[in-house]
């Protein structure tokens, strides 16, 4: 794997008092979250606690009902949402690769169409990204012919090709076979040590403990407890977090 030191110009991302409801159902109820420039924030919590929704609200796939989102210290709620999402890469639990396009087309689509790169430049960029995830040799096959781990690597390459300032990972290893999880987590951890600002929603407590600077525990649409991993995992303050940890570990 190529070392990519100082590839990123990391920026900070914060959500302040974010509220979001779907009809009568209040999914986020005043969530505060801070990721310093270059920091890795792990978000943990039970299913339905609003973790994935929080990510989609921070990149404005869902517009928050109240609260503010600061990127690099500046509110982005009034910005063009599409432009905002170009600055925030996202990787999904189910990969969501475009099955009708080859692997390299998946990676180069957004740079070509959104950054208006030439076909050669976009291809070069895409091959570099595939190199980073170790899949250059699979450039011309369809995603369906790849294993889950390989597909998730392509999805990471696709997000990185837009040179995002922040990366979101939404349970990126939950759909993978156990033997593939480690490789993907290592890749994410490498990105973090290269200086990328990341918010990682995960069920992998080991990853949250070892690779993140801050752990955020969410339940029922609220941040219940947050702090450095050793405090969250060794000295949980709230009964809810204690109960959660006792169930997952």
């Amino acid at each position: 794997m190529m070392a990519a030191v100082a590839l990123f110009k990391p920026v900070s991302l914060s959500g302040k008092g974010i509220h979001l409801s779907f009809g009568q159902n209040a999914v986020l109820r005043g969530v505060d979250i801070d990721a310093e420039a270059g920091a890795t924030v792990a978000v943990i919590g039970p299913s339905g606690s609003g973790k994935s929704t929080l990510l989609r609200t921070l990149n404005r796939l869902y517009e928050p009902d109240a609260g503010d989102i600061l990127l690099d210290g500046r509110s982005v709620l009034k910005d063009d949402a599409d432009a905002l999402r170009q600055r925030i890469g996202m990787v999904f639990q189910n990969f969501n690769l475009f099955p009708h396009r080859s692997v390299i087309d998946n990676v180069m689509l957004a740079p070509r169409k959104l950054k208006r790169l030439s076909a050669e430049a976009a291809r070069e960029l895409a091959l570099d990204q595939l190199d980073r995830v170790g899949l250059r040799h699979k450039a011309d096959v369809r995603p369906a012919t790849l294993s889950g781990g390989q597909q998730q690597r392509v999805a990471i390459a696709r997000a990185l090709a837009m040179a995002p300032q922040v990366m979101f990972f939404d349970e990126a290893t939950s759909a993978l076979d156990p033997e593939l999880v480690k490789g993907i987590l290592a890749l994410i951890a490498d990105l973090g040590s290269d200086g990328m600002t990341m918010i990682v929603v995960t069920h992998e407590m080991g990853f949250a403990r070892s690779a993140s600077g801050t752990v955020v525990f969410m339940d029922r649409g609220q941040v219940v407890e947050s702090g450095p991993p050793e405090r969250i995992f060794e000295a949980a303050q709230t009964p809810r977090l204690q109960r959660f940890l006792s169930q997952v570990e």
Binding site: Q86, F92, H100, S102, D105, M108, L109, K113, A119, T145
Partner: protein, 590 residues
Amino acid sequence: MSATRLHRGRVAAAALGIAAVVAGVVTAPGAAADQCSPPGVQSASALPTNLAKAAKGPDEDKYTTATVEPLTGVNASGLGLGTPGTLVVGTLSDAPPSVCINSAGQFTGFDNELLQTVAGKLGLRVQFVGTDFSGLLAQVASRRFDVGSASITTTDARRKTVGFTNGYDFGYFSLVVPPGSPITGFDKLAPGQRIGVVQGTVQEAYVVDTLHLDPVKFPDYNTVYGSLKTRQIDAWVAPSQQALGTVRPGDQAVIVENTFSLDNFVAWAVAKENTPLIDALNAGLDAIIADGTWARLYSEWVPRALPPGWKPGSKSAPRPSMPDFAAIAASHTPRAAAAPAPKSTLAQLKDAFFDWNLYKKAIPDLLRTGLPNTLILAVSASIIGVVLGMLLAVAGISRSRWLRWPARVYTDIFRGLPEVVIILLIGLGVGPVVGGLTGNNPYPLGIAALGLMAAAYVGEIFRSGIQSVESGQLEAARALGFSYRRSMRLVVVPQGVRRVLPALVNQFISLLKASALVYFLGLVAGQRELFQVGRDLNAQTGNLSPLVAAGLFYLALTVPLTHLVNYIDTRLREGRAPASPEDPLVEEIV
């Protein structure tokens, strides 16, 4: 044409009420027999002997004009014609010897030949357009046609829609039954019998209003006659001309009785308010009666003794002088002695469906005229259908109800109506409104109707395809920074379309078949598509082989398409070959 003449002679004999089966050397039925050629004076028939008892007695003839204006007073530019100098005439291809299309693909028959000479007197050119009787009068009323020429019997009901000229022919009704039927006359018709008529004809009105019976309605004469021969109906009340022209030796059918009504003569239909054209045609008709043309054509095409109290043209037109048809008829009746044995059912089927001579005759026309026209109709309609269908699909999944609702309503209407109704609504309803734009050419209207109909189905196909794409695809595209619109265009729609390609090809196959329906709108000979070419030849010969030939052409188009569907299906599932490095990002065509 001796074979044809003999054939005519024999049917005339049948009309005399002798028997259906008569003598004569005949070639195999259907073999190159052109029902659309003048049978000649030798085929003359006398007055039906069983006419008088069935006649209702002449009513007062209140519609025939007393005189006509002089031919020199006709102002050719004031006739209200769509195209100055040209008489556009709606006619039928399947009603010999009155109106029909001959083996050379020209519209002819007594009515049309007569109209040609009338037009000649007026200094007008004639352009014939084949159509279906069900739409003929409506199209005359809307001025799509200047004149309707189809052996049209005038009735008070029809006079509410169109105007008529003076009479140039008269009509008996014939009662046609299978040989040995207990139905031997109109007075034997009774409830419970299946009595066939062509819908919208005077015969239908006669059965319903005069006989107070409930007839079985058929779309055209060939179908009703085919049903009689195979005994699916018990009797056929036919225009006498039709019965004479259609009932052939060896057929399982006999003409047993005729009836006549004086107030319903045969005339050309003209838009009601266009009295200058009616007056001019009346003047021309009297002129060709005076110079003997009427008598000549009448003797060639439809030689029958005139019924008592009737003559063509205005009341002041001279009585035409004609040969003694009764004497001619009497001279050839002895031939009606030895009958060929009725054919076995199997032999009849073979003759009706597998006459190789007719295949040879049909295939060049099907190839040169039918196939290109069918493809033009289906492909053009598909283009409209795909473009409009995509708009409907996008509107149908839109978040705005102002897009969703109209798309829903459109789809419900166009999917819910039978194809024929859409064709007739667009062709005959919208046609007159846009007549100036289309030059009264039915093609754009037919294509539009088929396209609008296809759009409703294609829209639903696209919508289901697009909605079947996992929501994660849209989410992933949007997360990369694509707008909703571009996400749909680059990621979601191409996947949705691929999934429904098989359904789209199936839709194209149904369009190929539905394109046959444009014949309702009236086509000139060169515009006929596969079905109409086969149907016309079927009408000329009374043989179904041309339709089978047309059917084979449809199969030759549709069967490879079904296999294409399977091929696409497989390829979509297994993916395409790796993209070449020169062209790494193949643009989607959406």
